[in-house]
Structures are given as C-alpha cells and as structure tokens.
Amino acid sequence: MAKKKVLILYAHPSPRRSEVNQPLFNACRNIEGVTAIDLYHDYPTYNINIDREQQRLREHDVVIFQFPLYWYSTPSILKEWQDLVLEYGFAYGSEGTELHGKKFLCALTAGGKEDAYQSEGYNHYTVRELLHPLEQMASLTGMEYLAPFTLFGARTAKEEGRKDVHVKAWKQLLTALVEDRIDYKKAQQVEKLEQSLGDIVTGEQS
C-alpha cells in the first residue's frame, strides 16, 4: 500500500492551557508517516524560516492546519505562515506548482456548539463556509481541499468525556491518510469529516 507523508502544522499560542489541541497534537506525534510541527514552538518570535517551511511542504503529500478557531479564522501565526511561505513562484504563478496534487485539510476546535454554526444559529455560517479563504487558498495552489475535522463545544469537551473520543477519531483519520485509505471524493464533498468518518475511511488498518 502506498504510504503518504502527512505534515501537521499546529498553532496554539498557549499550549499549557490547551485542553484539546495539545492532546490532539501529542497523539499524532508518534504516528509513523506523520510530521508534527508546533509553529509557536519553532518560531516564538514569528521569524518564520521560509526556506525550511517550503522544503517541508515539498517533502509531504498531505498538509493539515491544526488550530483552535479564533475569530472565525486561524491563530495569527498560521496566517503569517501563509503570507510568507506560500510565495509567488513557489505556491502560485506560472512556475509555482510545488503544491499541486497535495491534499489539504483543517483540524480545528471551536468554542461554540454545533448548532451555533448554522445559518439560523448565532454564528450564521457553517465552519466549512467560514473556512472558505483556506479552501480558496488550496484551490489557487492546486491542492485538493478536504472537509474540516472539527470538535465543537471544545471548552467543555474534557469534562463531558468527548475529548478522548475525538482523539481516537483523529488517530484513525491520520492513520488512514498515511495508508491512503480515504475516499477523497466523499471527503471533499461532505460538510464535515468527523461525522461521516466511517464512510470516508476505507479498508482495514494494516
């Protein structure tokens, strides 16, 4: 089975306070084929090493942004990363084809409940809709955009025992990505990955 290499770019400005994201990040560190990068750890002063980050992208097949949703978007270092690393001539433009054919997805946590992220809820848009800029970033750079993998109501997930379930699903998703056992078509079309994980992941874990 063809092995894919997965790159996780994790952004949490206060990991010591994190109740879900840090456990998620810790869980993916030991999976073979997954490279886990803590951006705030590597660039505490935001001096992102463009060459190193571009090289990382070249070496991987799947790119994942992992973050808590802040103001309907990523924490600032992920935006800085996009601004600097996805250069003209590297990620876009007539010669910027380095990312073509890679898969891209967001793994995020949101404070609000799931029904808040509906057209009739107080957030008015679904998470997939709010992440349209990232979906378009993937499109312009030639990457296949997969639906987001979200945990809603993250502030109380630990107390309600939903955190461990989510970490388990996260590991299942990552292993499937590494082993290329994903129905990519479905994964692109669904609203969110976490609900239909059973349909999207194909085959048995090797």
Binding site: D83, Y92, G93
Partner: protein, 640 residues
C-alpha cells in the same frame, strides 16, 4: 615533637590507604576509618594507650558535626516535613529503643543500661545511608525520602540524648571513677565557672548564656562576617568560623553544658544566614578529618580478645539487632503506606546501627552509664552491623528491585518531573536579571556570590543567596550541585569562569552549563571548556541599540526588526565556522591570519545577505513578505 609527627603520620597513612579502598568496595568512609583504626591498633599495634587522649580531641569532630547538622536545619524545611519527621522518625526511634530496652531488661541488665543500649541501637548510620543513596540515585525515591526523614529525626534526637544520658549514671561506676581520679591527681580538676554557684544561680547562668548565644548569633554574626568578608582573606574567614565553634564549645564547657548541644544551637541560629554555605564549606574539612580521627580511635580501641571469645554472641547480637530494626521499619512502612520496592528500600537501608552509636557509646562510658566491657562488646555489634549494610543494598538491588520492576513500568508517567534547582554563580548586573526572570516564574534558584553587599541586596528581594566563592568545589557541593539541573555562570572574572566551566563539566557531567561570555574570544574558551550554551554579554544589548539607531534614522520599526533577525541568523551560522577556525589555529596566537581572513569574509557575507531581496530567489537573507511581480494577477486568470 618527633613523636607527634610520627603519630600523626601513622594516623594519616592509615586513613589515606584504608578510606579510598573502603569507598571503592562500597563500604563507605566511616567503615574505612574503622578499618584503618583496627589495622594500626589491635592488628599491627602501632598505636596504643595514647588513642584515648586523641579520642578526646577527636570528639571535637562530633561537636563540629552537630554544628553542621544545625546549619542544615532550616525551620521552614523542618516544618514542611513535620509529619514524616515526627511520625516516622519518632516512632522508629521510640519503638526500636523500647523493644531493645525490654530485651536487655529480660537479660537482667539494670534499667539505666538497658535504656542507654536501646537509644544507641535506635540510631542508624546517616553517613553510610545518605552516601549510598547518592551513589545509587535513590535519594528522590519515596523510600529514600522517607529514610531521610527518619535519619534527620535521629540526628536531631541525638541532642536530647546527649543531654539525658548523664542522668543515667550508675552510682557504683561513678564511685569507682571518682576514687580513681582522686588517687591519680587532685589538681586535675576541670575549669568551671559554675562550680560554686547555688542552683538558682546556675540556672540563671544557663539561661543567660543560651539567650546570649541565640541573640548574639542572630544579630552580631552578620556584621562580624561582613567585616571579615570585606578583608577578602579566605583564611581569616576560616579562622572566624573555627573561632565561633571553638568559642561556643568553650562557653558550654565552662557552664557545664554539652559543647555539642551549644554548637547545634548555634548552627540552627545561623541556618538562615547568607554566610551559611561559606561556613559549612569552611568547617566541613575540619569536621571530616576530626570525625575520621574519631572513628580511627574507635577502630583502634576495638578489643579483639572480646571478638574472638564471644564471636557467636556478637554475631548473634548483630543479626538480632538488625532483624529487629528491620521489623520495626517494615511495620512503620506498612502504617505509613510506603509501597512496593520503596517499602523494602526503607526497611533494609536503615537496619544498621550508626556512627552516632559510637558517639553515644563513648559518651555513656565517660558518664559512667555503661561499663567499659559492655561498651566494647556493643561497639563491635555497631561496627559489624555497619559492615553488613552494603550487603543489604546489594540484596535490594539484585533481589527486591527486579521483582517490582515489571509493576512499576505499568505506572503512568508523572506529568511534571521534579524541578532540579538552578545554581547561579555570580549575582552582579548580569546574574541578577537571570535570577529575577527565573524566580518570578517559580523556578528554584540558589545564588552564590563572593561580594557580601551584593548578596545582601539580592536577599532583600526574596532570593536564596549565599556568600562564597563559587569556584570552590566545597561551596558548589553545599549549594547542592549534585541535584541541580543547571548552573548559570555569570561571575565577573574571565579565567575563573572558564575554570569553573571545566570543573563542573568534568565533575558533574549531568549539569547543563549556561555561561556568560565577555567577548568572542572568551566565548570560544567557554565553549571549549564545555559550556552548553554561551551568550555574549554585549551582543543582544548592542544589537538592540543598533536597531534603535536605525529606527531613529527613520526606518520602519518592523523592517528594522527583520533586519535584526537577519543579522542574528547570519551571525549564528558563521559563529560555528569561526569557532572551528579558531580551534584549528595554532595554540599560542589564537586569532591568527587564517581566522582573520575568515572573519572578514563572513563580514562581507552579512552585508550581501542583508541587501538581498527575496524576490531574486537565490540568497535566503530576507525573511519578510515580498510582493508578487506586477501584473501577476492577469496570468492567474489565463491559467484557470
């Protein structure tokens, strides 16, 4: 005179040979001294009668030891340990003493002797146990910590025991001793201030003396030490420390109290002083030597005739005492819920009698509590049990530990490992900032500096600061470098900081060394000496002032910040190369032509890289955002 030299030489030779061998065999230094004494005394017969005279002198080592015990007792630490200290330690001492006393009574000993024997065997060997814990890395285990509380309690309990034992004196022994004294020499009476006072006057003198000791120690010692420290003469500080201990011992003798008790009290009074570590490291060598001498005299005094005549009795007694002590300890471990292998460590490590047993034995004999013959038998038992202790540790390592290892692997790892403290050597303008940052983040630091006024200032802002020369091994030791995670070397002297780096790297390879460099050359020397992280004292502040200059000239602050980062990046990259060139160059002229050429070349490179724009995509100098070329959007449209 010749005789003294010869005698001193014999003692020293015996110690120098026996102690290192004993340590290598895992027997510990106390047993080494005992063996040395046995060899030069009963076996070869080089020393004989005079050992008793020397013993009196050597007992001063015990006084010093108690002074040091007192110094180590911080009221705060004691308070936080109070439950284990009183519970575990108190029950161990009381329980063991009571059971042994009962057994002794059963064998028809008078109750006074029985009680004294009980107390003697209740104590364990702090010296052997703590040393073994350190060597085997067991100090931080639950078993090790609990054993430590018991040992600490025992060390403290010796003080009241020393005060209490004279009350147990046997009338017939006293009478015998008195008649011996009167017939020998009547003018040999001890100096005493209080001999002719009525009892209320005596009580007054005692209260006044002790109050004087506490108040004087608290208020007068600091100005005195500061005055002495300002002279900068190390030997005068040593003399002051000795003067203090000797003076207290003399005062206590004059008023008829135990010098050990007074020294202990003085130690406690000074435990919070900023001069504590310096005092400790000054007294420690004297204490070590005198105590060693004391143990040699004990060894020399061992009566082999008794050992051979009563061989089975002594072996039986030893095993009996050890079994009994182990049983008491095991029971306590059950009560206090010390689990698994730790329970066994606690039980086995403390099952021997200890060096304080010898001290109490000689003290009981002096005070006519125990007859000399019984004391000789008992000291054989104490010594034998100490000889067997390394065997118990080997038993723990080979038999007990493997049984529990599988279980302990299943345990979930602790989330935060215990934070080792950071030692900061030098608390001038540089070290202070480091210390403040660490302390305000709840990291434990121990600060050492050789300028008393500096230390004073830092103490006012709630920091553990101690006066002393950090380049002295003893001071590092007393500051706890064995347990420290890292040392920050910020002392104001080029040569000493390199020397200190070398020493720490060599002696304590587990300690991370962070060093402050004066300049590039000094930084290389520190790296070569083994420093893990070196920061130049001027680099960051100079860079910051340079950035300020660029901002003042009208450059955008964000651009300046990026240029600063670029500068640092090139500098980091080139400093490795420069260091290698420096290291390869000839020994004498460090900065020779080859190095200079490389330096100039790299300087050029900085200029080139700072000017490069990322848009030409060749040099990786700039890290900022660069705009895509003009008109790029039209092309995007064509592509889709």
């Amino acid at each position: 005179m010749t005789g003294y030299f010869l005698q001193a030489f014999i003692y020293l030779v015996a110690a120098v040979i026996a102690v290192p061998i004993a340590k290598r065999l895992g027997l510990g230094s106390v047993l080494g001294y005992l063996i040395a004494g046995v060899v030069i005394g009963p076996i070869i017969g080089l020393v004989g009668e005079e050992t008793t005279t020397i013993q009196h002198f050597a007992e001063f080592g015990v006084v010093m030891m108690l002074f040091l015990v007192g110094l180590e007792l911080e009221p705060k630490m004691l308070w936080s340990m109070r439950n284990r200290l009183l519970g575990l330690g108190g029950l161990q001492v009381a329980g063991t003493a009571a059971i042994i006393m009962t057994i002794a009574l059963y064998f028809n000993q008078p109750w006074t002797i029985a009680l004294a024997i009980g107390l003697i065997f209740a104590l364990s060997s702090t010296a052997i146990v703590l040393q073994t814990f350190n060597e085997k890395g067991l100090s931080k285990t639950e078993g090790g910590q609990n054993a430590f509380s018991v040992l600490l309690f025992q060390d403290i309990a010796v003080i009241p025991m020393l005060a209490f034992i004279p009350l147990l004196a046997l009338p017939e022994l006293v009478k015998k001793a008195q008649s011996a004294v009167t017939t020998a020499a009547e003018h040999h009476e001890e100096l005493s201030l209080v001999a002719d006072l009525p009892s209320w006057g005596y009580a007054m003198v005692i209260v006044i003396s002790i109050a004087g000791l506490v108040v004087g120690g608290h208020y007068l010692s600091r100005p005195l030490f500061r005055f002495v420290a300002s002279s900068g003469l190390r030997e005068i500080f040593t003399a002051t420390a000795l003067m203090l201990v000797v003076g207290i011992a003399a005062l206590m003798s004059l008023i008829g109290l135990s010098p050990a008790l007074g020294a202990f009290l003085a130690g406690v009074v000074l435990a919070n002083s900023e001069f504590r570590h310096e005092l400790e490291s000054n007294i420690d060598p004297f204490k070590g030597l005198l105590l060693g001498l004391f143990f040699i005299t004990v060894g020399a005094g061992i009566n082999f005739a008794i050992l051979f005549n009563q061989f089975f009795i002594i072996v039986g007694l030893t095993l009996g005492v050890m079994l009994l002590k182990a049983a008491v300890l095991f029971l306590l471990a059950l009560i206090f819920r010390i689990k698994n292998s730790n329970r066994w460590l606690f039980t086995l490590s403390l099952a021997q009698a200890g060096e304080f047993g010898f001290v109490l034995l000689s003290f009981t004999v002096q005070n006519h509590v125990i007859p000399v013959e019984t004391a000789q038998t008992l000291s054989l038992v104490v010594a034998l049990s100490m000889f067997l202790t390394p065997g118990l540790f080997i038993f723990f390592d080979k038999v007990i530990l493997p049984r529990y290892e599988n279980q302990s692997n299943d345990r979930v790892a602790d989330e935060i490992e215990e934070q080792g403290s950071v030692i900061i050597a030098g608390i001038g303008r540089f070290g202070q900032i480091i210390n403040r940052l660490l302390v305000s983040n709840g990291i434990k630091t121990v600060v050492l500096d050789h300028q008393a006024d500096q230390v004073d200032m830092v103490r006012q802002i709630n920091t553990k600061a101690y006066f002393g020369d950090a380049t002295r091994p003893e001071l590092l030791h007393t500051a706890g470098i064995e347990e420290a995670k890292m040392i920050v070397i910020a002392i104001d002297n080029r040569e000493s900081s390199v020397e200190l780096t070398k020493y720490v790297k060599h002696t304590y390879p587990h300690v991370t060394i962070l060093a402050r460099a004066f300049d590039r050359g000094h930084g290389y020397l520190l790296t070569q000496a083994g420093a893990d992280i070196v920061e130049s004292e001027t680099y960051h502040s100079a860079l910051e002032l340079g950035a300020q200059a660029m901002r003042s000239l009208g450059h955008h602050p964000f651009f300046v910040e990026q240029q600063k980062a670029a500068y640092q990046r090139v500098e980091d990259r080139k400093s490795d190369k420069l260091y290698k060139a420096w290291e390869d160059d000839s020994e004498g002229e460090r900065f020779d032509n080859n190095y200079r050429k490389l330096f100039m070349h790299l300087e050029e490179q900085i200029k080139v890289e700072m000017k490069t724009d990322r848009s030409d995509r060749h040099a990786g100098g700039e890290r900022g955002w660069t705009p895509p070329p003009k008109g790029y959007a039209d092309n995007l449209d064509e592509q889709s």
